[in-house]
């Protein structure tokens, strides 16, 4: 009974309530909102961001941050375009680009884990550098004309109305949930974020876990960049520019603490649904992209205050004995 009560009054419960209200509001405002077509569309238009948000959940719970993800997405998409332009078949280019993504993550991890610099600074610098490399590759051109089967990955429904990218997201979300909440690795990620010293004294190889998380983040970002190229069918130097704002907003709104150690995949998935339906609702209401970003900015600041709100919220709802 207390378990159910705690679950309903948790942050995830609150997010669920917000989500239901948002869906109701959108459904009343626009008759097309609740149609399956619009729901698939809503996911498809942001599928790259939400896939990266899953990996970012691990990074932030681990007590780090990765500001370079959007630039890695751009670099991956542009290097795919560049390889395509150089005559490399798409089937060979895909693994090469994914390897490049892992290498970007390895580069970030080298500076964070080996040299001991804060990930905030390292990934701010590589955010600029990787974006710069993407621009070097494609300059001011747009590269398109990818094979039909590649574009189909991002555009054509594969099973029922769902394209490959959306099915991949569901599979990755399930995998992320198991990995974070049901494996030793997931516990290690969380304990390092909660207290690095405790993790070290407990014999956790902190460097290896942090490296794995940062490499995975860039690897997933590269995959997302490829999906972007497939969905749009062409790449430019500014692919995914500024996406880190949405991605970090989603993760923090989902209840992941910016200081590490707290968070869940369920929270991130709920936050994904909230942000997507908010964006979709704003688009249906004809608000421009800049205004949408502004609203997202407000949401980002509110969500970084989640620990503050969570404190108030639980003090109101729980009696002291239920908190412990």
């Amino acid at each position: 009974m207390t378990a159910l009560r705690e679950r309903l009054t948790s942050w995830e419960g609150f997010l669920l309530l917000v989500l239901v209200l948002l869906y109701a509001w959108n459904a009343l405002a626009s008759p097309v909102f609740l149609t399956l077509g619009n729901q698939v569309n809503l996911f498809q238009l942001s599928i790259e961001k939400v896939i990266v948000a899953l990996a970012m959940t691990f990074v932030i719970i681990n007590g780090e941050i990765d500001l370079s993800v959007a630039s890695v997405m751009g670099l991956a998409a542009c290097s795919f375009g560049w390889l395509h332009g150089a005559g490399v078949p798409a089937a060979a280019a895909i693994p090469l680009v994914l390897l490049l993504g892992l290498a970007c993550g390895g580069f970030n991890a080298f500076w964070v884990v080996r040299v001991g610099l804060p990930s905030l600074v390292v990934t701010l610098a590589t955010m600029i550098a990787f974006r710069g490399l993407a621009r070097v590759l494609v300059e001011d051109r747009g590269i398109g004309g990818f094979p039909a089967w590649f574009n189909a990955l991002g555009q054509k429904p594969l099973i029922g109305p769902f394209p490959f990218a959306i099915l991949l997201f569901f599979a990755m979300a399930a995998l992320a949930w198991v990995l974070l909440h049901r494996t030793v690795f997931g516990r290690q990620v969380t304990v390092i974020g909660a207290s690095r010293a405790v993790a070290e004294y407990s014999g956790v190889d902190v460097g290896r876990v942090k490296t794995a998380v940062l490499v995975a983040s860039s690897g997933v970002a590269a995959l997302a960049g490829l999906l972007f190229a497939a969905r749009v069918g062409a790449v430019r130097g500014d692919v995914a520019l500024g996406f880190e704002l949405d991605i970090i907003t989603i993760v923090l709104l989902g209840g992941v603490s910016i200081f590490g150690g707290v968070g869940s995949v369920t929270g991130t998935v709920l936050a994904i649904l909230i942000v997507l339906s908010l964006r979709n609702g704003m688009a249906l209401a004809n608000l421009t992209g800049h205004i949408q970003s502004g609203v997202l900015g407000v949401l980002l600041i509110l969500s970084v205050m989640v620990p503050v709100f969570r404190g108030w919220f639980q003090r109101v709802l729980h009696r002291p004995e239920a908190v412990s």
């Binding site: 941050i65 500076w111 964070v112 884990v113 080996r114 040299v115 001991g116 610099l117 804060p118 905030l120 600074v121 390292v122 701010l124 610098a125 590589t126 955010m127 600029i128 550098a129 990787f130 974006r131 710069g132 490399l133 621009r135 070097v136 300059e139 001011d140 070290e200 902190v206 460097g207 130097g237 880190e244 704002l245 970090i248 907003t249 923090l252 910016i258 421009t288 800049h290 205004i291 970003s293 502004g294 609203v295 997202l296 900015g297 407000v298 980002l300 600041i301 970084v304 205050m305 503050v308």
Partner: protein, 346 residues
């Protein structure tokens, strides 16, 4: 003979790098060293310099301000709109109004960061988007054009204080240099200035010494916003035409100038004289890459990114070595203290 202090050495190294860069490009680009190079770089540095100096105040307190690019854009636009509506405003008042507007936006950042102890990088990433969307909202997507401004505004950016054999020293450049000098004196010689260093180098010790941490951090963000507002006015004066993308991604250039100029990204050390050299170096590389035939100009952004990473890494290594040497001197055989990031490996 006393050896040079570490900060002085740092400045000398920066100056040497700057000189080497000039020499290198002079061998690569024909007719490189002329009056036009000086004129072009000095005016373009003058616009970014106030932003970088403001950023330095924030970085000294262990924070970062990513919203400055949007503040530059918003104040440039608002000042232009104001001048369009009231062309008779006294010229001396206009930069002050721009600074006040920027200061208010900076106060929003400062309030959120200092009152709720939120990470500044997240708060200012949010306000970066918010300030820009306010600009879009109020402008309705329309631009400010040169024709709508009183004649003295574009004239100010062109006016020379000194001119000699084609080398022109603009009033705008002198204004930016004055900002650097005032900021340097404040930071190096006044109690209020030293507090920024104290808060950034050890917040606990600063609090025990009776320094108001919240007020100091708040002040740094207000200064950063106000100087970004001043840069917004200079931007308006120099370019005349303001669109909604004015000042876009300037936050990265200002952070670059600060970090390359030797201000420690972990707070607590650095000087604005270094920031002046850092800003000049970045602009010099930027401008020269465009003219260098061997390498495409699209390398500019990548070079900036790796330059920042290199500067930060160098800084961390130097600090760590310094701490180790001090520890050895005071206690033979002692292990060094934690690295400034607190991230030293076990």
């Amino acid at each position: 003979m006393t050896p040079l202090s570490a900060p002085a050495l740092r400045l000398l190294v920066l100056l040497a790098v700057l000189a080497l860069t000039v020499v290198f490009f002079a061998t690569q680009i024909p007719n490189y060293l002329d009056a036009r190079l000086f004129n072009r770089i000095s005016t373009s540095v003058a616009v970014i310099l106030p932003v970088a100096v403001g950023q330095a105040f924030v970085v000294l307190t262990r924070n970062i301000d990513l919203s400055v690019g949007s503040i530059v854009g918003a104040t440039a636009y608002a000042t232009g709109g104001l001048l369009g509506a009231f062309p008779d405003l006294p010229p001396l008042l206009v930069p002050l109004v721009a600074m006040a507007m920027g200061g208010c936006l900076g106060a929003v950042n400062g309030f959120l960061v200092s009152r709720f102890a939120l990470p500044s990088i997240i708060v200012t990433l949010g306000t970066l988007a918010i300030f820009r969307s306010l600009l879009v909202q109020f402008s309705g997507g329309a631009s400010i054009t040169m024709a709508s401004l009183p004649a003295w505004v574009p004239a100010f950016a062109q006016a020379n204080a000194l001119s000699w054999e084609g080398i022109q020293l603009r009033w705008m450049v002198l204004l930016a240099l004055a900002v650097v000098i005032v900021a340097h004196v404040v930071l190096a010689r006044t109690r209020a200035g030293r507090q920024f260093y104290a808060v950034g180098s050890n917040p606990d010790a600063a609090a025990f010494a009776g320094i108001d941490l919240r007020a100091t951090v708040f002040r740094a963000f207000v200064i950063s916003g106000a100087l970004a507002g001043l840069a917004g006015f200079l931007f308006l004066s120099r370019f005349g035409n303001i669109t909604v993308v004015a000042g876009l991604s300037w936050e990265l250039r200002s952070v670059g100038a600060v970090v390359v100029g030797g201000v420690n990204i972990f707070g607590g050390s650095g000087s604005v004289l270094g920031v002046l050299i850092g800003a000049t170096l970045i602009d010099l590389i930027d401008t020269s890459l465009v003219r260098w035939a061997l390498v495409s100009e699209f390398w500019r952004e990548a070079v900036l990114g790796f330059l920042i990473l290199g500067a930060v890494a160098l800084d961390a290594l130097l600090t760590r070595r310094l701490l180790r040497r001090r520890a050895r001197r005071s206690l033979p055989g002692a292990r060094p203290a934690l690295a400034p990031s607190g991230e030293a490996r076990p």
